[in-house]
Amino acid sequence: TQLLEQSPQFLSIQEGENLTVYCNSSSVFSSLQWYRQEPGEGPVLLVTVVTGGEVKKLKRLTFQFGDARKDSSLHITAAQPGDTGLYLCAGKAAGNKLTFGGGTRVLVKP
């Protein structure tokens, strides 16, 4: 079983601060996705990274895929209260199945 570990599990910051969430594995994934989930809702895809070393930006969010395609990070610059939510990374394994990390709960206080 391929495992993905996310850290930290919980992050509480003030509006305007920066934060980084990490997603690590000992396994190689063909691609890695980041989802955000808000209370009472299902996860919604933010980005997919495919190539080792790839960096993608989505407004104030920067996603990086490790060179060896075993790890990834999500960096949020100048966090806003609207960034509050549960962030999940998911690696694409055999077939079309995804392996999800345990999630990082982010709270951005105004």
Partner: protein, 114 residues
């Protein structure tokens, strides 16, 4: 655009009772999935389907059964509910294209087994 619809949204069962969770998607997706989400454990795959009439076991299939009689529907059954099955259940669907596999999720069903 309905996307993925799950019913019911909430349910309370007594140990030993049975129930069926319904997932419906209107995106003509080939692949459908059932996950459970527990605190600190992310999403774990219960069962999935790669097309109408097919089902396969995921990571945590014990105590659950599924059926995909129609392409747009994926049913998750609990024959004899146990307290360990208290969780939030999510259904998802995807096109099945190997390249990216973007999964679209429903809003979830919160199940408590007493």
């Amino acid at each position: 655009n309905a996307g993925v619809t799950q019913t019911p949204k909430f349910r309370v069962l007594k140990t030993g009772q049975s129930m069926t969770l319904l997932c419906a998607q209107d995106m003509n997706h080939e692949y459908m999935y059932w996950y459970r989400q527990d605190p600190g454990m992310g999403l774990r795959l219960i069962h999935y389907s790669v097309g109408e009439g097919t089902t396969a076991k995921g990571e945590v299939p014990d105590g659950y059964n599924v059926s995909r009689l129609k392409k747009q529907n994926f049913l998750l059954g609990l024959e004899s509910a146990a307290p360990s099955q208290t969780s939030v259940y999510f259904c998802a669907s995807s096109t099945g294209l190997q390249s990216l596999n973007i999964q679209y999720f429903g809003a979830g069903t919160r199940l408590s087994v007493l």
